[in-house]
């Protein structure tokens, strides 16, 4: 009866859902995008200059001199921005894919459960009450996001004794509405302080530094490990709560763990980037449509492609109106929207269905 007894007979089994190829392709794209975003910027530095600076920081020494300003531009301004964009994009896309899996709803996104609304409220409170301490903003946004999601979970679970996907999503919508209302109200009372709140809501990597990178790396790393660890369980959940339960999985435990991990990572990401929309829905969808619906593929490929997507979008934010900046959220919507429609349409005409 045990699997061992069957070893050796029959044709070789088809390989398990393989993420290798899509992951390699996505990695190749990420490398190209990262190199491009490092080489290109509103300060038109030569490739040689950029290469010299980067090489100098990884222990190589290329001949030639670089001015202090160019040094600073490449190493202190441009690179942290590229790296932070990659981390934030990876986290938002992975978080989005995970929420979609756990709620079995393709429109679920990192903001659905109130993460955005909570983070927005936290940021607003920080800005209006302790405007002298801008360093509090990420912390406050993070705390707000976590509080909102916890509340969503409590409310969703109380509604009928235990939490179902639908009750949690509904609770999320309600909590988000209340938090957004509170935030709008506070904003109205402090009209003079609006500007920082608005720019945070639009999302931006304009002030990215290595310390932002250091700030979020632990959360993103932890969240990524936990979420990727759940990739097969998310596939099991695709047969529904009851059948997953009869397969020995506790769907509530999976959901709680995945939601906690995705929220932690997402809240950390938006605390430094502001509310960058679209990544969490667009990237996993495109990945699903172009590769495979299995979370064993969708999660890792979304992670990598999310990084590429946001690095590219931020390159657009820096370059399209140089030397001025375009809000990142605007760029992601502008690139993401049409690209999404394109993929959706070409896929549909090929398959006749979604």
């Amino acid at each position: 009866m045990r699997s061992g007894e069957h070893a050796g007979d029959g044709a070789p089994a088809p390989p398990p859902v393989s993420a290798t190829r899509p992951v390699l392709v996505a990695l190749a794209v990420l490398v190209v995008v990262t190199l491009a975003a490092t080489a290109i910027g509103p300060a038109d530095l030569s490739l040689a200059t950029v290469a010299r600076v980067v090489a100098g920081h990884v222990g190589l020494h290329l001949p030639g001199r670089v001015s202090a300003i160019d040094q600073a531009i490449v190493w202190q301004i441009r690179l942290p921005r590229v790296v932070l964009g990659g981390l934030v994009g990876a986290m938002l896309a992975l978080g989005g894919a995970s929420y979609q899996g756990v709620f079995r709803n393709p429109l679920a996104d990192p903001y659905l459960l109130g993460v955005a609304a909570g983070a927005g409220l936290g940021a607003t409170i920080a800005i209006v009450s302790a405007s002298r301490a801008t360093y509090l903003l990420p912390l406050a946004a993070f705390a707000g996001g976590v509080v909102a999601v916890s509340l969503t979970y409590l409310v969703g679970a109380r509604a009928n004794g235990y939490a179902t996907s639908a009750s949690i999503i509904l609770a999320g919508v309600a909590v988000a509405a209340v938090f957004t209302a509170l935030q709008t109200n506070i904003q109205q009372q402090h009209a003079a302080d609006l500007q920082p709140v608005y720019s945070w809501i639009l999302g931006s990597l304009s002030v990215a530094t290595w310390s932002d990178v250091r700030l979020i790396v632990p959360y993103v790393a932890l969240s990524t490990v936990v979420l990727l660890g759940h990739r097969r369980l998310l596939d099991v959940l695709r047969v529904g709560e009851e059948e997953a339960t009869s397969l020995g999985v506790d769907p509530r435990r999976v959901r709680l763990t995945v939601v906690a991990a995705a929220t932690l990572g997402t809240a950390a990401a938006v605390s430094v980037s502001g509310l960058v929309g679209f990544v969490g829905i667009i990237v996993p969808h495109v990945v699903r449509l172009t590769t495979n619906a299995s979370y064993r593929v969708v999660l890792p490929v979304s992670l990598i492609s999310g990084a590429s997507f946001l690095i590219l979008a931020d390159l657009g934010a820096r370059m399209l109106d140089a030397p001025a900046e375009i809000p990142l959220g605007v760029v992601t919507a502008f690139i993401g929207g049409p690209f999404f429609i394109f993929v959706l349409r070409s896929r549909r005409s090929r398959q006749g269905t979604l």
Partner: protein
């Protein structure tokens, strides 16, 4: 339209003449009603207002400067200058016609027109003058005259405009000569929003011979208030940095110097980073001279 303007001009001339003949005495009364032009069109005011409500901190400063202060009975919560204004908890950005009407004003001045508020107030038959942020000194002077006429203080308004013209000219004349091509980065907030030379502040700074580093992208980009990339600020390497975000966001010369990569800037190395009072910098009233004066003395320290 043209006929109206001509009529207006002649009205102004008549009033001016009347004021001139009565030597600006307190007893001088223009013939009411008067019609003034503001951003919301021509406004007719039937009687000299005695219950003015200013929901614009700049207009409040202007009204007091031209001698209409005693007619002002309510101002918004940001109207903190001059001291002793009748401040209320009203916020010019979020208003409701009823809350405004409660004060029974006979003239309302707005710098921000919330959707439909002016129309609502019109149904209450309260005249509203809408004087939004002035893009140039000339427009600010024009607003002065309009307020003077509307409140019965045209002479005071004329005198104030004349004082400002003289004072601005004097500051510009005595300001240190900056080297040709001196550039500035004027920080509105810590995410690098700034001004181009096309803005009100930008024009004041142009008078002192300074150029905004944001002009490179076109002076009218983003309404003159673009958000720059850190990279382009570094590459532009401005001669001086002016911080208008000390009040809002605690930016200081030290905190700017400590930003990663910014130590490479020559303004940082030479210590040419100065704090500009945001409450001065965001208003276009009587205290523009203080702003101009402050920057002029910063320049003296920088290049003197």
């Amino acid at each position: 339209m043209r006929a109206l303007r001509v009529a207006l001009a002649s009205a102004v001339a008549t009033v001016g003449l009347a004021l001139a003949t009565s030597a600006g005495g307190a007893g001088a009364r223009p013939a009411w009603p008067v019609t003034v032009r503001a951003a919301n069109g021509a406004i007719t005011i039937a009687h000299q207002p005695t219950r003015i409500m200013s929901l614009s901190p700049t207009a409040t400063e202007m009204l007091y400067a031209i001698g209409a202060g005693s007619q002002v009975t309510a101002v918004d919560k940001y109207s903190n200058y001059p001291a002793g204004t009748p401040r209320t908890s009203l916020d010019g950005y979020s208003l409701n016609a009823e809350a405004v009407a409660r004060y029974r004003p006979d003239l309302i001045i707005l710098a921000y027109d919330p959707p439909a508020l002016a129309a609502q107030l019109a149904t209450l038959h309260i005249p509203v003058i809408y004087d939004p942020a002035a893009p140039t000194l000339a427009v600010a002077y024009h607003q002065y005259l309009g307020l003077g006429e509307a409140t019965g203080h045209l002479a005071g308004a004329r005198a104030e405009v004349a004082r400002l013209r003289v004072r601005v000219a004097a500051i510009v004349r005595t300001a240190p000569h900056v080297p040709a091509g001196t550039t500035y980065y004027y920080e509105l907030d810590p995410t690098y929003y700034t001004v181009t030379s096309a803005t009100f502040v930008g024009q004041l700074l142009s008078m002192l011979g300074l150029h905004s580093i944001a002009d490179a992208g076109g002076t009218h980009v983003s309404g003159g208030y673009p958000q720059l990339t850190a990279e382009s600020i570094l590459q532009a390497n401005p001669s001086i940095i002016l911080l208008a975000d000390h009040g809002c966001c605690q930016a200081t010369p030290a905190s700017v110097a400590a930003r990663p990569g910014w130590s490479a800037l020559s303004a940082v190395a030479a210590g040419r980073i100065y704090v500009v009072s945001d409450s001065l910098a965001s208003r276009w009233g009587p205290r523009v001279t203080l702003l101009l004066q402050a920057v002029a003395s910063d320049l003296r320290r920088a290049f003197g």
